[in-house]
């Protein structure tokens, strides 16, 4: 009976590995085929030289950093406050942070367009900068579940209450406690959330496309529609970025959350 499970398990693993590795290998192989008859990195050269690549990739990186910053500033104090002073509100706050997982991104951005279009009260789609701001907010919304869960777990681990009380006894005020005591102890949780956010924002398509911003996601889709080999090179690059981000998360602390991706 024992050797039987082994065989079935090995077969399952083998098939699973094949299914998951083949597309990666195939993509990489395809990306090397740009020059007829010989394997080369021509596709990558073309991609990196494309000014569009540079602008959109740069744009997405800036967006990602802005999202991470805004996300941290929004989530960490809130999580800390709820943890410490308003435990009764915890379920409500948690429920709100889970809403972006339930409401599809396309619906959220649809809501933005209806609510913040040029003829509305707050015409955020009126100018480019304002739309950029709207995009960052949409990204913060998308990454909210992961950022909050990461910070919340971190807070639970470090026993916030006792740390705060110890700091208060030693004479610190609220701001000092937050920035000098809590933040440093939450670094690994914050970094986990940050890298996850980075991975989400870099490849994001729906929001950027419907808000008409020059981000990396829509650029990817455009290349895919028009070119043959460059898309696979881009896919390889995207995969490496995602892998690197997740790898860094593992380095800074285990993250069991998975993003339902689009």
């Amino acid at each position: 009976m024992k050797s039987e499970s082994r065989l079935g398990a090995w077969i399952a693993m083998a098939i699973g590995t094949a299914y998951f590795l083949l597309p990666l290998i195939a993509t990489f192989e395809f990306s090397l085929r740009m020059e007829r008859g010989v394997y080369s990195f021509e596709a990558y050269r073309v991609v990196f030289a494309d000014p569009q690549f540079q602008t959109t990739f740069g744009y997405s990186i800036v967006m990602a950093l802005a999202t991470i910053l805004l996300g941290i500033l929004l989530v960490v104090p809130t999580a800390y406050w709820v943890h410490l002073r308003l435990p009764k509100l915890r379920p409500i706050v948690e429920f709100i942070t889970l809403l972006p997982l339930v409401i599809p991104a396309i619906v959220i951005v649809f809501g933005y367009l209806r609510m913040y279009n040029s003829s509305a009260l707050i015409p955020l789609t009126g100018s480019e900068r304002a739309t950029d701001f709207l995009l960052v907010c949409s990204y913060v919304t998308l990454s909210l579940p992961y950022m909050y869960r990461s910070v919340d777990t971190g807070l639970r681990t470090i026993d916030v209450r006792t740390l705060t009380e110890a700091a208060e006894v030693l004479g610190a005020n609220r701001a000092t406690i937050l920035f000098r005591v809590i933040f440093p102890n939450l670094t690994s949780a914050i970094l986990s959330g940050a890298f996850l956010t980075f991975a989400i924002v870099i490849g994001e398509f729906t929001m950027a496309s419907l808000l008409d911003r020059p981000a990396f996601g829509p650029y990817l889709q455009l290349i895919g529609a028009n070119r043959a080999y460059e898309p696979s090179a881009l896919a390889v690059i995207a995969f490496i970025i995602t892998w690197a981000s997740m790898g860094l998360i593992n380095v800074f602390g285990r993250s069991k959350s998975a993003k339902p991706a689009h």
Binding site: S5, F20, F30, V75, F110, L144, K259
Partner: protein
């Protein structure tokens, strides 16, 4: 001197702490979604109507919902079964110890690797010039495209969706499998039970809330996905998110309120699926305690 009701003041200040979060949530999550839901019940002049909801059942839209439903159903059940088998193999299959953490790490990455790059990856694999297509032709003389298969189809999209559905299932179901106490199996053995009886009477009954719950989550996940479909099948496969995308972009339905109704339909479906997941999860959590 009358004593001050000191309790009041601190509570007020405490609430202030969550005001930024509340404002953000309202402005960028709750209100936008609400305006959509309200808009679903309005006509062009802003008056209350159920006409939009009725129009959801018109051929066009109804077909889109049906295709979406089918694809979500197939990819979530397929992902559910396959993901469960993989997780079972890693946790209970008596494989070398390094396989489980590797599978979990990979699943964490793979469940994020979706959208446009994933579409490209599968085009490179099973597209007309894809690696697997070419290898099947040159090694085994099998031309999959002659059988009518195409990566740019319902089947192709489902296969592509599985790439993030299976890892998601693995991530959710692995803790449940690890929660199966080894002593239950041993107790069952002592009482004379076979492997089949163990799974039928003990393991599967204990696991099914997690399995069904996870499948529901997968369903919701697939239903709301748009980027992968857009990059792979484009408007060739008219699923609800694609239709909604086109509607947002260019009002192809010539009725903005119908678009809101479609969005409402999506929220209802994903909301129901997620609620199902949470109910089942709390049930299995209670049992474990």
């Amino acid at each position: 001197m009358p004593s001050q009701p000191a309790a009041r003041k601190p509570v007020n200040l405490n609430i202030l702490g969550v005001v930024p979060f509340a404002i953000f949530a309202l402005m960028f999550l709750i209100l936008p979604t609400s305006t959509l839901m309200v808009g679903a019940f309005q006509d062009a002049n802003g008056h209350f109507t159920l006409e939009n909801l009725r129009q959801l059942f018109d051929t066009n839209v109804r077909d889109a919902y049906w295709i979406s439903f089918k694809i979500s159903m197939v990819s979530s059940m397929g992902g559910g079964v396959l993901g469960f088998i993989l997780a079972w193999a890693a946790v209970l299959g008596k494989l070398p110890a390094w396989i489980r953490p590797t599978l979990l790490t990979f699943s964490g990455v793979a469940s994020n690797f979706a959208g446009v790059p994933l579409a490209f990856a599968f085009l490179s694999t099973l597209g007309r010039l894809g690696l697997v297509t070419v290898l099947l032709r040159s090694w085994f003389d099998i031309n999959i495209y002659s059988t009518g298969f195409s990566i740019l189809s319902f089947v192709g999209l489902t296969i592509t969706y599985l790439y993030f559905q299976i890892p998601l299932m693995v991530l959710i179901v692995t803790p449940a499998l690890e929660g199966l106490k080894k002593e239950w199996r041993e107790a069952c053995d002592c009482l004379g039970g076979t492997t089949f009886q163990y799974w039928r009477f003990v393991a599967l009954p204990v696991l099914w809330p997690s399995i069904v719950g996870a499948t529901l989550l997968l369903f919701a996940n697939a239903f709301g996905a748009v980027a992968t479909a857009y990059a792979l099948t484009g408007s060739a496969l008219n699923i609800v998110p694609i239709m909604l995308y086109a509607q947002i972009r260019g009002d192809v339905l010539h009725n903005p309120n119908l678009g809101y109704a479609m969005a409402l339909g999506m929220i209802v479906i994903t909301g129901l699926a997620n609620t199902g997941y949470m109910v089942l999860r709390s049930r299995s959590d209670k049992r474990r305690a």
